[in-house]
């Protein structure tokens, strides 16, 4: 029975090596699992502290994912195109009649618009209005990625090498599509306007009310707004266009059309179909973020100083500030007459002695 020598320091008891190894492996496995899960938690916490981290990582992967997604998407896109083609052929006559009627109406409106545009140009020239211009950065093909609940995104076939940067608005043929979020070298990722995190400043074209088109993660948008007048209401068919608030999206781009005005908030359908965006334009942010410079303060304007020096008693100009304004009420309309003394007095008095009090 005693074939094995008794265990000593160099040769410990090798009892049941299978069982021991199994239990060791199980223990190691559990430990490893814990480490992995802890690592995932750590990543989440890091992103909570520094959200840019995730953006950078995702930007780096957009390039790699772009070909995968375009390959996976090819059959779906083909079927969609085929369906659209068949549908087009089926109702081409109806469509033609409809379009002819639309065209007539549009021509009437175009004539009026032309006249108004000319007038607007004249007015703007008179006002010396500086209107920021929209600037196209790149054109790209977008393929929607519908993956996680609440998220609506697409991959764009243009990236950093085309000048695309995060935040840039993306505009499809139907209307606004969303904005760029992550940028890779040759591809980028955009947030569609239906994403649950998307907020787009819009206004109702008919009433001029402003509000936000809020993505829900579904196919529709919520239109959140402050009621501006009690007499009017949002109607089905009202068009929402970008308002230009916030400076990111250029104003006047079609966004959505109201389809349910009774709901609270009203629901709108985006005009650009998020699953079939096709070719899109990526524009620079409409208003670049201002970089303020230290400008010299403006010189005091002569006509602002005038009311301060109104006192009719010209000889007492040395101490006008000490005078109670009530004394000036005797000669209020004589401002024009007293201008010359006013021009000499400004250094002696504070700029605004509040004559209106």
């Amino acid at each position: 029975m005693s074939r094995l020598p008794p265990p000593n320091r160099l040769r410990p008891a090798r009892r049941t090596s299978f069982a021991r190894r199994d239990s060791n492996l199980a223990l190691l496995g559990a430990l490893f699992a814990g480490v992995v899960i802890a690592f995932a938690l750590l990543m989440l916490l890091l992103q909570r502290v520094n959200p840019d981290l995730g953006t950078r990582m995702r930007g780096a992967t957009a390039d790699a994912l772009s070909p995968i997604i375009s390959v996976a998407m090819a059959p779906v896109e083909g079927v969609r195109r085929l369906g659209a083609l068949i549908g087009d052929h089926m109702n081409v006559v109806d469509k033609n009649r409809e379009l002819a009627a639309d065209l007539k109406a549009a021509q009437r409106r175009a004539a009026e618009t032309e006249r108004l545009a000319a007038e607007l140009d004249r007015m703007e020239a008179l006002l010396a209005l500086r209107r920021p211009e929209r600037r196209l950065v790149a054109s790209a093909v977008a393929s929607a990625v519908s993956a996680e609940a609440g998220q609506r995104q697409a991959i764009l076939s243009a990236g950093l090498s085309d000048g695309v940067k995060p935040r840039m608005p993306v505009i499809a043929s139907g209307g606004l599509a969303g904005r760029v979020t992550d940028v890779g070298q040759g591809a980028s990722r955009m947030m569609l306007l239906t994403d649950a995190d998307s907020r787009i400043p819009v206004k109702v074209l008919r009433t001029g009310w402003t509000g936000l088109a809020v993505g829900t993660g579904g196919t529709l948008l919520d239109f959140q707004f402050d009621i501006a007048s009690g007499s009017d209401k949002i109607r089905v068919g009202d068009r929402l266009v970008t308002s230009g608030d916030g400076g990111l999206f250029p104003p006047g781009i079609p966004v959505a059309v109201i389809i349910d005005a009774e709901a609270n908030p009203p629901r709108a359908r985006p005009l650009a179909n998020p699953t079939g965006l096709g070719t899109v334009m990526i524009e620079a942010p409409w208003l670049p973020p201002p970089s303020f410079v230290a400008a010299p303060p403006a010189a005091p304007e002569a006509d602002k100083v005038v009311p301060a020096a109104v006192p009719g008693t010209a000889p007492a100009a040395a101490t006008p500030a000490a005078k109670p304004p009530a004394a000036q009420t005797s000669t209020p309309p004589a401002a024009g007459a007293t201008t010359p003394p006013a021009a000499s007095t400004p250094p002696a008095q504070p700029p605004r002695p509040a004559p209106a009090r």
Partner: protein, 171 residues
Amino acid sequence: MSNLNRERITPGEIARRLLPAGTVLLSLLVMALPLPLAWGVMPNLALLFVILWASIQPRLMPVWAGFLLGLFADLLFGGRIGIWALIFPLAVGVVRVAEERVEGHSLAVDWAFAALLVMLAQLLAWQLNSFLGSSAPLLPFLVQGAVTLIAYPLAATLGARTQRRLTDLGG
């Protein structure tokens, strides 16, 4: 043990070993397809397969594989990184613990267990999303969970059938 491990590595064996991760990867790609679904909510097939494989073939779906697959999902979906990389391995772990305690399988029990797990995972995903500053509403997550549950028997049948075929192939 070491002798038992030293099997012949045939192509069939490789396919068998890669099958679970492969199906999860494939379902992730399917989920990322731009299908014009109403609501745009796809069943969370990847989570379903992770749960299934962790139950059918625990050795081929270890916790770290869940982590890697989840990481890929996060990168593919473009969401906050770490959400699925946390949920997938957690799901694998929970399934494993449950398997140790419960004997036998029946579709109804498995389905109910998966239902609980999927719903918890969807809630956790929603919670983590809001924790990381997203304002995603809860409803899409619940709808996706429900759709996923409906897809369970199909996925289970599919998984079992593929596995059987590959086992035959491996000899």
